[in-house]
């Protein structure tokens, strides 16, 4: 019987010819990743095991969540990770000024590659499915064992075939695709399963679109969100990945749990209303919803293409007087490119805050926390109660098109309303 992409990657790393959904396997890991929130408790658990790190070249420790340190305790967390990275000569540790958001820089630096098996102590580790890897979020204990042994156990997931067709309309991006999908299947629609993207529509999606889509697979409960290896993926990784890699393709007779059809040509700009990513509605059906803040950034939408979309809308315009618009490039490279493209000027002239790369406000860390009753349109990934600040604040998840347009009008708006 044929295998899905997820099954093939897990089989290869379990040194088995075949695996099937439901099977328990122990796999060799290609990369083990943590950040400044999850890394320090992982290090503490790792030390209990009493072994050295399995391979310093296959570990990434990324200080991005509360860094540059927002308070003394966060500085302590960063220090634990920094000291550990130095002592163990961790290959992929990056200091402030060179670091960016973990799920932005790992693909950008070519540290993740097709066919790899990756665990990360961060739920959005599923992002790397965009480059044809099987990559999933774990907690600190799994991570600690990964650091010590280079192995993890997996239950081979069933896969949902997300079949993409049609042509992507203008002003629509990966965020509208994934929010529409989550709206269809719900926040537990892919629980314990992998999403695998297929169909002619895949070629319509840029690598930025795919990174956004795979990033939010977890918001449907999925273990991974895997894209096929195609020309666009090859071009992206060939410029970045230095080592050899082995992509996977699903077999023609691969068995899927179910198939979900998405015709890209029918997509409209959407938002996810508070307080779940499944509360998805087209922007043009919302009526007037006034806002206080806009955040454009994060591991979901902090890439160069995202900033380009925002700059295209904000050029020559002003942020609404009642709105704070916070723009967070996902990496130093993106920050620099945005500067070269004169987009930072566009943002600052429009009245935006431009921050250094950080996860910051996405998880209510810092750099844009909401007060009671405030509303934010955000290109981030979660709108749970209290996610960005006060328990009575509200987050509306949207694409950079909708976020930038809303920053100008002061209410949730489609890009057509301002272009």
């Amino acid at each position: 019987m044929g295998m899905t992409m997820s099954e093939k990657i897990l089989a290869r790393h379990a040194k088995l010819a075949n695996v099937e959904a439901g099977q328990l396997v122990i796999c060799d890991l290609d990369l083990v990743m943590a950040n400044d929130v999850t890394g320090p408790p992982s290090i503490k658990e790792f030390e209990k095991i009493g072994r050295p790190v399995f391979d310093a070249e296959k570990i990434a420790l990324i200080p991005d969540h509360f860094q540059p340190a927002k308070d003394i305790k966060s500085a302590d967390l960063a220090k634990i990770m920094r000291d550990f990275a130095r002592k163990n000569k961790i290959a992929h540790y990056f200091e402030q000024g060179r670091v960016g958001i973990e799920h932005v820089i790992l693909p950008e630096f070519g540290i993740v590659a097709p066919g790899m098996l990756i665990i990360g102590a961060d739920s959005h580790t599923c992002t790397y499915g965009a480059v044809n890897a099987f990559s999933t979020g774990v907690g600190t204990t799994d991570l600690a064992v990964g650091l010590a042994t280079g192995k993890a156990w997996f239950k081979v997931p069933e896969a949902i075939n997300v079949h993409l067709t049609g042509k992507k309309p203008k002003n629509i991006c990966g965020k509208d695709v994934i929010l529409t999908l989550i709206g269809k299947i719900g926040v537990d629609g892919a629980l314990y399963k992998a999403l695998e993207f297929t169909g002619e529509g895949v070629a319509q999606l840029s690598m930025t679109d795919r990174l956004t889509i795979s990033n939010m697979a977890i918001e449907a409960g999925a273990k991974a969100g895997v894209f096929p290896f195609d020309e666009a993926c090859e071009l992206y990784v060939s410029r970045r990945v230095k080592k050899s890699f082995e992509p996977v393709q699903a077999d023609a007779d691969a068995k899927y749990f179910s198939t979900v059809e998405i015709n890209l040509s029918e997509l409209k700009p959407v938002v996810a209303l508070p307080h779940l990513p499944e509360n998805v509605k087209p922007v043009d059906e919302l009526g007037e919803i006034k806002i206080n803040q806009v955040v454009i950034g994060s591991c979901t939408n902090g890439r160069l293409e995202d900033l380009g979309i925002a700059a295209g809308i904000l050029r020559g315009k002003k942020v609404h007087p009642d709105v704070r618009c916070i723009i967070i490039p996902g990496s130093q490279e993106i920050y620099k490119e945005a500067m070269r493209c004169h987009w930072l000027e566009v943002f600052i002239d429009a009245g935006c805050v431009v921050s250094c790369p950080t996860c910051g406000p996405c998880l209510g860390g810092y750099m844009g926390i909401l007060s009671a009753g405030e509303r934010c349109v955000s290109t981030t990934n979660r709108n749970f109660r209290g996610r960005m600040g006060h328990v009575d604040s509200e987050v509306y998840l949207a694409s950079p098109f909708v976020a930038a347009a809303s920053a100008v009008t002061g209410k949730i708006s489609t890009p057509d309303e301002v272009i």
């Binding site: 328990l24 929130v37 999850t38 320090p40 408790p41 503490k44 658990e45 209990k48 095991i49 009493g50 072994r51 969540h65 509360f66 927002k70 308070d71 305790k73 966060s74 302590d76 967390l77 990360g120 102590a121 961060d122 739920s123 580790t125 979020g137 774990v138 907690g139 600190t140 204990t141 799994d142 600690a144 064992v145 010590a148 042994t149 156990w153 239950k155 926040v187 537990d188 629980l191 314990y192 977890i218 409960g221 273990k223 779940l276 998880l363 209510g364 860390g365 979660r382 749970f384 109660r385 209290g386 996610r387 328990v391």
Partner: protein, 162 residues
């Protein structure tokens, strides 16, 4: 392990941001985390929870962030077992890995209400609702995952294999 305790009942899609909000993630001290457990949806929990009380949720319990701080905060609050219709997968792994039994019982979770008294045998997955008389059976853990749970978590399991 045999447990008898009072139920703290929560709904569907209880996410790890409400179990332990990110503003408290600048520490990973279990007792400090326990002080803020569930605060954004239930201000009474941290102040009134008693050791041996049981937490019960609906579907997709523990969705969202991978923060292990969430099951750690629940365990440090004195909760010895969590029951739900279903668990989000990272939370599920994390619970097993830290030695916090998680019992998945599907729609039967609807038959458990706040303040019910439950009697649980985690080794068999049998749950008796002493308030209503209902008896439920949780889905068993597959293969060696049960051995991880029996060892009290993944670190103990790995050390036992050293």
């Amino acid at each position: 392990m045999k447990i008898e305790g009072k139920v703290w009942r929560y709904g569907d899609n209880i996410d790890t941001d409400v179990i332990i909000p990110a503003r408290y993630l600048n520490t990973f001290d279990p007792m400090e985390l326990a002080k803020h457990c569930m605060v954004d949806i239930d201000e009474n929990f941290a102040a009134n929870v008693k050791a041996g009380d049981i937490m019960v949720g609906g579907k997709n319990f523990g969705c969202g962030s991978s923060r292990e701080h969430a099951p750690v905060a629940i365990k440090a609050s004195g909760i010895p077992v969590v029951i739900a219709a279903s668990f989000a997968r990272i939370f599920y792994r994390n619970g097993i890995n830290i030695g916090l039994p998680l019992l998945e019982i599907g729609d039967a979770a609807e038959k458990i209400s706040a303040e019910d008294i439950l009697k649980i045998d985690t080794s068999t997955g049998t749950i008796e609702n002493l308030t209503t008389g209902d008896i439920f059976h949780a889905r068993p853990l597959p293969g060696f995952v049960q051995e991880i749970a029996d060892a009290g978590g993944l670190i103990n399991y790995i050390k036992s294999k050293n």
